[in-house]
């Protein structure tokens, strides 16, 4: 959900919301839950090692996948990313003043070490999540929670400082961690505990072994609170660094499931599957990643006048910041957007595994409304006209536009290690040349990018991407209050935007909120601090012997406890080396 891993260069943004999905056919008649045969092993291939398995500290995507099998939340997102299914909480109710939520907890839940789960764990988890020394990365979810109290063993009460639509989401976010193991340890020393390498949770699978840089093995937790589940005996996470090696192992049956398959490999898998040459079933759904071009709207030197850590009002920002000589003009950004054939780029660099994107709201989130976006066609003629109207002409006939002696020439950055973005960069360079704009691609080492260029806003334009979080929130990217934070690197600010965002977040109903999100989408897709390029489809493959699988925008391992394997289809793997 929210988590960064630098090695694979995904960065996150929280967001919330809807999309397509893939689900198995309904269970055949003979396989009612009572007759589902238990047993079998799932081997998941990962292309990197998790950075730990303590939910308070681990940040990587892989860690989160594994933790979702070992730990539980109070409630889980449903597919609409808007309502919730009870988990550790049986049910919840609101106080008359709507400022508190009372959770009735299950009483049949045990930690993997046998200790009973209680409201004490819920209270402890909250206190650690907001503990300053722990610096949990999801702490923003808990911003408006005043306190969590354990009324009795099976009742936890969340009290809020204000009323807003996302209260329930904020309350249930985060895995519940065991108080009886962690509460005796000072927070500063917690990450170094063995717990981070051998976690104890309440989830369907218990931790068994972690071979450094090799594999992590989980086994079925017999006392899991959903009776009869999970069906599988084991979930093994095999760490194979090389993506193409991982894909080969999927085809050869050495791993059962991988996500993030490269587009060309995926196309091959689809063909092989159609022709009956492989038992691997291709799966595709709207993923969590999109790429965009971010324009630096203000002169990079003028940012230096801002004092770190001080919040500026929109008026103050207006006074302090000087527009960027090229991208300071909205009309120029419109021209640049129209000069770039985004549909072609989406198609070419993703081999068709992406959809074009036109506005700030990711298509998987509930607030997404394509009609709200101002759409800019690919129209180099009109782009040239707009540029001319802004005073950009090729007065010296050298093939590059100029204005008052300044050439329309700039550098566009992207992070190294991402072939897709590098390829997109060269296509964009070529397309901009058609409208006589000189763009110089520059591939930058991520360390330099994140520690200096982006925080200092020392760049002209950047081709980059975000990983979408499930909470509908654009403030880290565009709100004036976040202008000094690292993810808000375009320098965009607008009084109107700030008001809409506040109204959307405090709206009494979803319908009202939608109205404001639509206004935001309309405004940002007209102001164009970004030129959105494409939203990527997630390509995965799973061995066809697994039944009961659900894959959708919530992720790939969301219901492993429901997965099962018919007896007649079991392989050597399922026998676990012959036992």
């Amino acid at each position: 959900m929210r988590r960064v891993t630098l090695l694979i260069l995904l960065f996150l943004v929280w967001g919330t919301g809807c999309g397509n999905r893939e689900r198995d056919k309904p269970l055949p008649q003979e396989s009612t839950p009572e007759t589902i045969p238990a047993g079998g092993t799932l081997i998941v291939g990962l292309n990197g090692e998790p950075d730990g398995l303590n939910p308070l500290f681990a940040l990587s995507v892989h860690a989160n996948e594994i933790m979702s099998l070992v730990f539980s939340r109070l409630a889980d997102f449903q597919e609409n990313l808007h309502s919730f299914t009870p988990r550790l909480a049986k049910s919840w109710e609101w106080s008359p003043d709507s400022l508190s939520i009372l959770f009735h907890l299950r009483t049949d839940v045990r930690w993997h070490d046998g200790t009973s789960f209680s409201a004490r764990d819920v209270r402890f988890s909250y206190r650690m999540q907001v503990n300053r020394e722990i610096a949990w990365d999801g702490v923003a979810y808990k911003e408006f929670i005043r306190e969590v109290t354990a009324f009795d063993d099976s009742t936890a009460i969340f009290t809020f400082t204000r009323k807003y639509p996302a209260m329930l989401m904020d309350a249930v976010e985060g895995f519940i961690v065991p108080a009886h193991i962690l509460e005796t340890v000072p927070p500063v020393r917690m990450q170094a505990l063995d717990f981070s390498r051998s976690p104890v949770g309440t989830g369907p699978f218990r931790f068994e072994a972690w071979e450094t840089q090799q594999s992590i093995i989980l086994t079925r937790f017999d006392d899991y609170f959903m009776e009869g589940k999970p069906y599988l005996d084991r979930a093994v996470f095999k760490i194979v660094l090389d993506n193409s090696n991982l894909f080969r192992q999927l085809l050869s049956g050495d791993v059962d499931f991988i996500s993030g398959i490269a587009p060309l490999d995926y196309l091959r898998l689809v063909q092989d599957n159609k022709a009956g040459r492989t038992r691997i079933r291709p799966i595709q759904y709207l993923g969590r990643n999109y790429d965009f071009i971010g324009w630096n709207l203000y002169h990079k030197d003028s940012y230096k006048k801002l004092q770190r850590g001080t919040e500026y009002s929109v008026d103050q920002l207006q006074q302090q910041l000087r527009p960027h000589p090229l991208f300071g003009s909205r009309k120029v950004r419109m021209a640049l957007t129209m000069a770039i054939d985004r549909e072609k780029i989406a198609e070419v660099v993703n081999h068709g595994m992406a959809i074009p994107m036109h506005g700030p709201v990711p298509p998987i989130l509930w607030a997404y409304d394509e009609k709200a976006n101002q759409q800019w066609p690919y129209d180099p003629e009109r782009a040239l006209r707009y540029l001319r109207e802004e005073g950009w002409t090729d007065s010296d006939s050298d093939g590059v536009l100029d204005k008052n002696g300044v050439k329309f020439s700039f550098e566009m950055l992207t992070n190294s290690g991402n072939a897709r973005r590098e390829q997109a960069l060269t296509i964009i360079q070529d397309q901009l040349r058609q409208v006589r704009i000189e763009m110089r691609p520059r591939v930058v080492e991520p360390g330099l990018l994140f520690s200096r260029l982006l925080p200092d806003k020392d760049f002209d334009a950047i081709l980059f991407g975000w990983v979408v979080g499930l909470k509908m929130d654009l403030a880290p990217l565009f709100h004036s209050s976040t202008i000094q934070l690292p993810f808000h690197f375009t320098g965009y600010f607008s009084q109107r935007y700030d008001i809409y965002e506040t109204l959307a977040k405090e709206a009494a109903s979803d319908k009202m909120a939608q109205k404001y999100w639509d206004k935001i989408a309309q405004q940002l897709s007209t102001d164009l601090p970004y030129t959105w390029l494409y939203y990527r489809l997630e390509c995965s493959g799973i061995h066809s012997r697994f039944r009961g699988t659900v894959f959708d925008k919530r992720g790939s391992l969301i219901n492993v406890e429901d997965w099962w394997i018919p007896l007649e289809e079991r392989t050597e793997t399922d026998k676990w080396g012959g036992d």
Partner: protein
């Protein structure tokens, strides 16, 4: 000899110290900020400060250096990894045996194969068999290790499916009997050891061949032959012993190369090891781990050179170590 060894060991300490000091300042001054890697869209300014404090990065680099030095010298504590929070020394300890196993076996294979082929090449030099060996060896010498690795991988692990394509052992390893476990290791290590070993064999072959040709043409061997010393004794006892002196110094020089070669092999075959720890630490600006791994690398290189010097004395009585 013992006095010499002691002197060398003492001399190594300032060398390691200088090396580590340089490394410390280079990584701290190099662009890239460990904290930047922890920043997500929800991280606020206060949270960043907490992370900076947690890592001790709020202090001047020189103070950080002194603190680091104090911890390492007095407590042999390299600090905790920024990323996993685990002690850096333990991270290294977890994977070091695997690296030792891989490099040890590869060195053995490279040494035996390179020496044998080198002797054959020298005996038949400029004849058909030497030309064939030299051409094949030149191929492995000039091809980058990752290419050889990928080729072997795609032939033996993917096309033929004889051997596993990754890991040090199968995920079922713990379910196997003792013999099964050894066989499991052999199957998994075969390709990585072969990849690294072939490159090393190519290097050893070239040196063996040259110095063996030289030795075989030396006057003292001509004299030995004239006196009727058996050919086998001339080649293996007198010839090879003299020819192996440069090989010993090569062994000392090859360790840094081995350490970098192992990064590629570990990545291609997804083996656990020092190389991967090091690369991940550098990319993630994980200073404590970089320092711990560098310490071990410095020690390995210095130890390699030291052993090479001792080896000289053992092979060649004319060399006196003082």
């Amino acid at each position: 000899m013992l006095a010499y060894a002691g002197k060398r060991l003492l001399g190594a300490i300032p060398l390691i110290f200088i090396g580590l000091t340089l490394t410390f300042f280079i990584i701290h001054w190099a662009p890239g900020d460990p904290v930047a890697l922890f920043v997500t869209s929800t991280t606020n300014v206060q949270a960043q400060e907490v992370i900076v404090e947690r890592f001790g990065l709020d202090q001047p680099v020189f103070v950080q250096y002194l603190k680091w030095l104090e911890r390492v010298v007095l407590h042999f504590d390299f600090g905790n990894s920024f990323h996993s929070g685990r002690p850096a020394a333990r991270l290294i300890r977890d994977v070091f045996p695997a690296t030792l196993l891989l490099t040890g076996l590869a060195l053995l294979l490279g040494w035996v194969l390179g020496l044998a082929l080198g002797v054959v090449s020298a005996l038949y030099h400029d004849r058909g068999i030497d030309r064939v060996i030299t051409t094949v060896v030149l191929f492995f010498y000039s091809m980058p290790g990752f290419w050889i690795g990928l080729m072997l991988l795609s032939i033996f692990a993917i096309k033929l499916d004889w051997l596993p394509a990754s890991q040090l052992k199968s995920v079922f390893h713990s379910q196997l009997g003792a013999a099964g476990q050894i066989w499991d290791y052999v199957r998994h290590l075969f390709l990585p050891v072969l990849t690294l070993g072939l490159t090393l064999a190519a290097i050893f072959h070239r040196y063996t061949r040259t110095s063996m040709i030289e030795a075989l043409n030396a006057d003292y061997l001509l004299a030995a032959r004239a006196r009727g010393v058996p050919r086998r004794k001339i080649i293996w006892k007198y010839g090879l012993k003299n020819a192996s002196i440069p090989l010993i110094s090569l062994l000392g020089l090859i360790i840094p190369e081995l350490l970098s070669g192992v990064i590629v092999i570990e990545t291609i075959f997804s083996l656990p090891g020092m190389g991967r720890v090091m690369v991940e630490a550098v990319l993630g600006r994980d200073y404590p781990v970089i320092m711990a791994a560098s310490t071990l690398a410095f020690i390995a290189v210095i130890a390699g050179n030291f052993l090479a010097d001792i080896g000289y004395a053992l092979v060649d009585p004319r060399i006196r170590l003082e």
